[in-house]
């Protein structure tokens, strides 16, 4: 192939196979596999001394609950946490990646990570992939410049807000925030409001459910309250337990097969090579 020049990769997705995929779908009737989205309620709010993040714990695969108690609040840095909604694989991968980048940056600078650093890394990555990395995040943390709360959308745009919600249950949670948020909340009020907002999502949105996780970040201290609320306990469990006595099930016939080997092993022969 004379005259063919190898172009360097520019990053982002390579859309070269799109035309081939289209023709396959048209002519051969090939069904392209769909994406699996998670239904979620994630929230964050700024209170007097820092930031409180909250999330539900249900991961769905279409109409089925795949994980009853998953973790949606991801670690970014000791003072920065990120809640993720959208495609679970995308939120995990992108937060892990940026978390590693932040760690390397901390080694290089010798300083605590700043929330805007995480924000810029996330938004430039998501913009490069033009929204195909379906991660909608609520990023919060406390650094040298104070408490910060941001939302990041799959296409790469960000907002800086005093309170934020994302995911399918975001409207239910936002209705709680819009009616009850005020500035200068104490730690207890903040946690209570976040728990109320996530509960609104858990009970009013089908894509969110199970338990409430809360993460409180203040200057110098982070508390990850896993399963802070368990409002959906398992009911109807037999308190007596289950015991199956012999004779409860009728035995029709018994056949015992010995599992001893039926092959004679010849003594001697070649020893196994070392």
């Amino acid at each position: 192939m004379a005259g063919y020049m190898e172009l360097p990769t520019k990053g982002g997705f390579d859309f070269g196979l799109c035309r081939r995929n289209e023709s396959l779908a048209e002519k051969k009737g090939l069904k392209i596999p769909g994406f699996l989205k998670t239904g979620t309620t994630i929230v964050g709010l700024v209170f007097k001394d820092g930031v409180v993040l909250g999330a539900d714990t249900r991961a769905t695969e279409g109409p089925i609950v795949a994980d009853k108690n998953c973790e949606k609040i991801h670690f970014m840095a000791p003072n920065i946490y990120c809640c993720g909604a959208g495609t679970a694989a995308d939120t995990e991968a992108v937060t892990d990646m940026v978390s590693s980048q932040l760690q390397l940056h901390r080694y290089a600078t010798g300083r605590e990570s700043r929330v805007v650093t995480a924000l810029s890394l996330l938004k430039s990555h998501l913009f490069k992939y033009q929204g195909h990395v379906s991660a909608a995040l609520v990023l919060g943390g406390v650094d040298y410049t104070g408490p910060h709360l941001h939302t990041v959308y799959p296409h790469g745009s960000t907002d800086t807000l005093p309170f934020a919600t994302m995911g399918s249950g975001s409207l239910a949670a936002m209705s709680v925030f819009e009616s009850k948020y005020k500035e200068g909340l104490t730690r207890e009020e903040g946690i209570d409001l976040v728990a109320q907002a996530i509960s609104a999502g858990v009970f009013n949105d089908l894509g969110s459910g199970s338990n409430v996780d809360v993460c409180v970040i203040t200057k110098g201290k982070t508390e990850y309250l896993r399963n802070h609320l368990l409002p959906n306990p398992r009911t109807y469990v037999s308190s007596k337990g289950y015991s199956f006595t012999k004779g409860q099930t009728e035995v029709l016939y018994t056949k015992i097969t010995q599992l001893k080997p039926k092959v004679d092993v010849a003594e001697g022969g070649d020893a196994m090579e070392e």
């Binding site: 805007v116 810029s120 410049t145 807000l161 209705s175 009616s179």
Partner: protein, 206 residues
């Protein structure tokens, strides 16, 4: 019952003083969202219905349950003919029955789904107002408490629904009759410190 008084034409706010709640007969209120011309048609049907009911002159008048049932039939039959009336209707009323004063609140939508509940919302209200109502509604609220709760929901809808406007009407129905109050506005708050300078943590960022 409360609604805002705006009617849009696509993304244009065409009419700003539209009354979307009307009294029906002596015992009911009807509120609608969706296509306004279809609502006007429904009001005509209800006019005919209440008129022929009045002509019976039998001392009995149609209560909210009966009107709800009538509307359900109308909406469902239109949907079956693939020619729906594009509305979500809220029907509320009080009528003195054999067991005393019977309060009623229900809704019908364009495909004929209908149910009765203690709190109803249409459109975006289903996502933003119902969570608040489910958490904070309780039996035997006074009129003032009910107005405050409804205003809480209206304010959230004003902030978060792009098609709402800051001009609302409240309507009340009791055994004494229907009262539709004049329109008024709610106070909004935009003074959060974080709204003032969002880029202060990183000057020059976007």
């Amino acid at each position: 019952m409360a609604s805002d008084t705006g009617a849009s034409y696509g993304s244009t706010l065409r009419y700003k003083s539209v009354e979307r709640i009307k009294a029906v007969g002596k015992h009911s209120l009807i509120g609608a969202s969706g296509e306004f011309s279809d609502f006007q048609e429904i009001l005509r049907y209800l006019d005919e219905l209440t008129l022929s009911d009045h002509m019976w002159d039998d001392g009995n008048s149609l209560g909210p349950k009966e009107i709800h049932s009538y509307l359900t039939r109308v909406m469902y039959n239109r949907r079956n003919k693939f020619d729906p009336l594009w509305n979500s209707l809220v029907l509320g009323g009080v009528k003195k029955g054999p067991k005393g004063e019977e309060k009623y609140l229900g809704m019908v939508n364009m495909i004929g789904t209908h149910f009765e509940e203690n709190h109803i919302a249409t459109g975006f209200g289903n996502h933003l107002a119902i969570p608040i109502l489910r958490a904070e509604w309780h039996e035997d609220m006074t009129f003032e408490e009910a107005v405050k709760l409804v205003e809480k929901c209206l304010l959230v809808l004003l902030y978060r629904d792009r098609s709402s406007i800051n001009k609302f009407q409240i309507a009340k129905i009791t055994t004494e009759g229907a009262t539709i109050y004049p329109p008024y506005s709610l106070k909004t708050y935009w003074g959060f410190a974080h709204f003032e300078n969002p880029a202060q943590g990183a000057v020059g960022s976007w």
